[in-house]
């Protein structure tokens, strides 16, 4: 089983090297192989769930590089695998209009390999290298349209992303200076004996750097532009996976498993989380650009994850990680819906839409499922994770946080009622009379993700038991992570 860990990274990298050549000779083969590579990596993630007991980590070491798979990294791998698979299928038709699909596949595969690398790294420097690999691919993919808006958004994303990377690299330097190692497990053991001041500065830098990557308020300024300007499949990857792997996952791993969670950090995360929820949803309410509205909701939903994790109670962590998984599914679906609408009618402006439910029934139905999921309506997946987060707030005696989380959820519902009312229902525009449903690969991707939204909601106890609880266990181990991983690698 442990050989699957390097294969998860190597497979996309190898295909990234070959994709452009294969595409030149046979475009259809390149489309299919890209989808196949994402299917295989997703299959690896599922196989690891089926054949490996999740109560202890798998460690793979080669040339001084260590890859570690525990419950938390496993959840992220599965999330990335599912979203990447449907994004690859969707892109077969969607990316035709952009041209240079060979370059798109190269960058997409490098981004996927970077995401898997970040999540599996057991070493801070290796994690940083994969983080940069994913981030550089993302900057290029945001600029893929080469129009002025994507270039502007990419430039802004690049500047903020590189500033974040600098913060992270300085923090890594401080950890090395204090602990004498880049290995996460060894650092977790040695940092406990380090001067509190150094730890505080390194923690602050990590929180700022990863907070920027995850677009937590007030470090979210790059996100609305980047997610709006990117091709829709990439918006789905950015919002569904990238900000979680490069941001939230890294925050959770470093805070809980390397430094150890403290009440001060917990308070900071909760406050940033609740402000993100409210600011994100309030800004989203005023948007008429479909994708920009979704982008602001990403800020808001990341706030729910930060709030849950920041509570640092088992129920809160469970709610936060469950919402991370759910958000990846329904938000990537929403971006694919927005891309489907934009590709068929040529605009993202909600005021220029209307009555699309009759012209694009699949896009409309799947967007309704995703809207109900993000608004936290039962029995869809978003309901359960939001419920757990709110219950965790109440359980921890933070009633006002629970109240704001509920208000955020009601405002989210209002925002998506607006989307449904203006885009899919309401009066059909005469100019849209010739509109047709999107091509089959795009509808397959959207229907599959919608079914997953429903399935996760209906099979909630199963999902919690097999996917979320092992991740919660890995987080709850705290700095005991170091001892467990070093034990597993012997």
């Amino acid at each position: 089983m442990r050989i699957l860990l390097p294969l998860l990274i190597a497979l996309p990298v190898v295909w990234a090297a070959l994709a452009a050549v294969v595409y030149r000779f046979n475009r259809r083969a390149a489309d299919l192989i890209t989808a196949l590579v994402t299917l295989i990596t997703c299959g690896f993630a599922i196989a690891l769930y089926l054949f490996h007991p999740l109560n202890y980590p798998i460690v793979f070491r080669l040339f001084g590089i260590s890859l570690v798979l525990d419950g938390l990294s496993h959840l992220l791998i599965l999330t990335a695998g599912i979203v990447a698979l449907f994004v690859a299928i969707y892109s077969i038709s969607y990316m035709e209009k952009y041209g240079r699909k060979d370059l798109f596949y190269v960058l997409f595969m490098l981004m996927l390999a970077g995401i898997y690398g970040v999540v599996l790294s057991g070493d801070l420097i290796v994690m940083f290298i994969f983080l940069e690999m994913a981030a550089l691919s993302a900057y290029a993919l945001v600029a893929f349209g080469l129009e002025s808006q994507p270039l502007e958004a990419s430039f802004k994303y690049f500047i903020m992303g590189e500033a974040a990377s600098a913060f992270i690299l300085i923090a890594i330097g401080l950890v090395h200076a204090a602990a004498g190692t880049f290995d996460l497990a060894e650092a977790a053991l040695r940092l406990q004996m380090t001067a509190p001041f150094i730890k505080a500065v390194a923690l602050g830098l990590f929180l700022t750097g990863f907070g920027m990557k995850s677009a937590l308020f007030p470090l979210h300024a790059w996100l609305p532009d980047a997610h709006t300007a990117a091709p829709s499949p990439i918006s789905a990857m950015l919002s569904g996976v990238l900000i979680k792997a490069l941001g939230i996952y890294a925050i959770v791993r470093v805070l809980f498993n390397v430094f150890g969670m403290t009440s001060q950090i917990s308070s900071i995360l909760m406050i940033l989380g609740i402000i993100s929820i409210l600011v994100g949803v309030l800004l989203a309410l005023g948007q008429w650009d479909f994708k920009r509205l979704l982008a602001y909701h990403s800020v808001s939903q990341i706030g729910y994850i930060a709030l849950g994790v920041g509570l640092a109670t088992p129920l809160g962590i469970m709610g936060g990680l469950y919402h991370l998984f759910n958000h990846a599914i329904f938000k990537s679906l929403l971006f694919l819906n927005a891309g489907s609408v934009e590709s068929q009618i040529g605009t993202r402006d909600l005021k220029e839409m209307g009555g699309l439910s009759r012209k694009m029934p699949v896009t409309s139905a799947t967007s309704l499922v995703a809207s109900l999921s993000i608004a936290g309506i039962p029995p869809f997946n978003g309901f359960w994770s939001k419920l757990f987060i709110i219950l965790a707030c109440v359980q921890a005696g933070k009633i006002w946080l629970a109240l704001f989380a509920v208000i955020g959820s009601i405002l989210t519902l209002a925002s998506f009622l607006k989307v449904q009312r203006y885009a899919f229902f309401g009066q059909a525009k005469e100019t849209l009379s010739e509109i047709k449903e999107s091509p089959v690969p795009m509808t397959i991707a959207m229907v599959s993700l919608a079914l997953i939204c429903l399935a996760i909601g209906l099979l909630s106890p199963f999902v919690i038991n097999y996917l979320i609880n092992p991740a919660v266990g890995a987080v709850a181990n705290g700095v005991g992570y170091g001892r467990i991983v070093l034990g597993a690698s012997k």
Binding site: L136, E152, E162, A177
Partner: protein, 197 residues
């Protein structure tokens, strides 16, 4: 002592790159900064990062000369920006106080290299945060990349390939910045719609 002199030269090069009105001079100041980092890494025993850093300097000169140098900056960028400099000065003083604490905790009685690397990093952040010329913002990112490399070596890192990642980032950024200024017909970031927030 040699390390301190090297860091002081690097700071001078970084400040000159940020403040000079002629971008050609800025490119060669950045190259000098990169060479300084490389020399420091090689003398500290970080041979792989040092060698990669050296290569990255030549790539930097080539890329900036090909992409951003031909783009003309608006004339008003040469005029003073007193407010931003005052804010930067306050920020720098506070950060140096913080850096003193960090240096003291890592290596008691040997503040200087850590302090100087912090000053270098802050010079880059100043350029990114307050300059209105795309070319100066790119120069700021270059300074940050190089300064963080120096800091990493200072903290004991000897084997990483982070300079390679750094130069890849700079190349991509320079290409995007050049394309953007071609599209907009200016290097003034205040004229860019999306960057208004």
């Amino acid at each position: 002592m040699i390390t301190i002199i090297l860091f002081l030269i690097m700071i001078a090069a970084a400040v000159y790159a940020v403040e000079t009105g002629e971008f050609r001079n800025a490119v060669y100041s950045l190259a000098l900064l990169g060479l300084g980092v490389s020399v420091y890494q090689l003398t500290a025993g970080a041979f792989l990062p040092g060698a990669l850093q050296l290569i990255s300097v030549f790539v930097l000169i080539y890329v900036l000369n090909r992409t951003l140098l031909p783009k003309a900056s608006p004339r008003e960028f040469a005029e003073g920006e007193y407010f931003s400099r005052a804010v930067f000065l306050i920020f720098m003083i506070l950060s140096v106080i913080l850096a003193c604490g960090v240096s003291d905790a890592i290596a008691p009685n040997s503040y200087s290299p850590y302090l100087l690397s912090f000053v270098l990093i802050l010079t880059g952040f100043f350029s990114v945060a307050f300059k209105k010329d795309i070319k100066k913002i790119v120069a700021g990112i270059v300074i940050i990349e190089y300064a963080v490399e120096a800091f990493l070596t200072l903290s004991g890192e000897r084997q990483g390939i982070t300079p390679l990642i750094g130069i890849l980032a700079i190349v991509l950024l320079a290409v995007i910045a050049a394309r953007l200024s071609d599209r907009l017909g200016t290097t003034d970031v205040t004229k860019i719609r999306e960057l208004r927030g």
